[in-house]
Amino acid sequence: MLSVFMAVLRRDLLLAWRRRSDVLTALGFFLLVTSLFPLGVGPEPDQLAQIAGGVMWVAALLATLLSVSRLFESDEADGTLEQMLLSVEPLAVIVLAKVCAYWLLTGLPLVLIAPLIALQFSLTPDETLIVCASLLIGTPTLSLLGAIGASLTLGLRGGGALIALLVLPLYIPVLIFGAGAIDRWRAGLEVGSNLALLAACLLVALAVAPVASAAALRIAQD
């Protein structure tokens, strides 16, 4: 089971490495959206610091949504997905590996670039650390839940808008806990509880999402 996981992970990372521009789309989107906010709401540092957490979280959420719809697309197009469905190995493990690769390629870069954006929004080092920590725990949940939407809308017309309608309501707890962490810190409250709740969301998503996504793939390819 572990070998299948590693094989799929390596394959997806390799494929992404061969087509690097795909990976950078989500990252560019994240950078652009966050840069738009100071232009929209004005450059006052206090105001920017206040909205920074929410802006970065919403941008991360939209960047995930933008790219996750392509999670199974190329596999479906070249027939790999059918082979995965026919495989004797549990489909949920394959899906989990794909989601892991996807997060390493799109979620992790967001976390790594976040300090730069925090700088633009004039956050203090402590606040930057908290935003990064919340993104680090929260973005895998976004990827996992996004995989459910991606597998449900696979090959449907208007898949992009549909996946937003399906997945965004499910993202709300993650958004609230994630963006709430920095707000609590700024209000002088402890942030451990929010990070723990984010981690709890991640664990639930880890348990449910690969199985649900695998079931949705079987339905889609029935």
Binding site: L152, L165, A220
Partner: protein, 266 residues
Amino acid sequence: MSETQSSVARAPSPGFSFFHYASPQTFFPLAGKLLWPCWIAAALLTLAGLYIGFFVAPTDATQGDSYRIIFIHVPAAWMSMVVYLAMAFWCAVGLVFNTRLSFMMATALAPTGAIWAFVALWTGALWGKPTWGTYWVWDARLTSELILFFLYCGYMALQAAIDDPRRADRAGALIAIVGAVNVPIIYFSVKWWNTLHQGASVSLTAAPTMATTMLTGMLMMALAAWAYTIGAALVRVRAIMIERERSADWVRKLVTGADFNGDSKA
């Protein structure tokens, strides 16, 4: 439609069996019989409930007459949640037992549930203006009701986007169940986030904090909402049954009124 024909051949069991009505063919006439009682009950209970609500129940000490919206608002909010649970339940039954009728029932319930969620939001806004001074606040219950409305929309949009009914049923069922798992998480996350809404006035564990006539009126309206929901779902499920089983013998018999043998005509 070999399944349908085999169920025709089977002799009806002598005693009452719940599963006897698990096939569209046998459920269709039953749903037809249940329709009128539902409509009559809904109409009578609405009239009685509104009469009590508007003429008998006393004016509230703090909120004046604007509180009277609860006779519509509270049943609508209750039903929006109950219908979602019922929908998720039928979806789960459909996925586990692979029954066609369960999916049809879930599909039939969704629009009614969405309407209830919308009515709850709308009446809540109308009540919020005189009471809180604003149509909308980002309060826990309002926000989670709004998200519930989006969940209904997502379910219906997904089903509408898929042409193959079998895939539409199953994909919709999956998202409904995932949504049902998420509803409590969403509710508590929003609750801890921000809360302004008054606490629940009616709960199972504590004595109600409202006058008896108010409670009577509200419960009557709640029962009326139940009757309406069941009636509306039955009408819709009958339409879905006819549409999906249009090539089956029993539907042709129903439509043409003639005994159809399956080898000539039509």
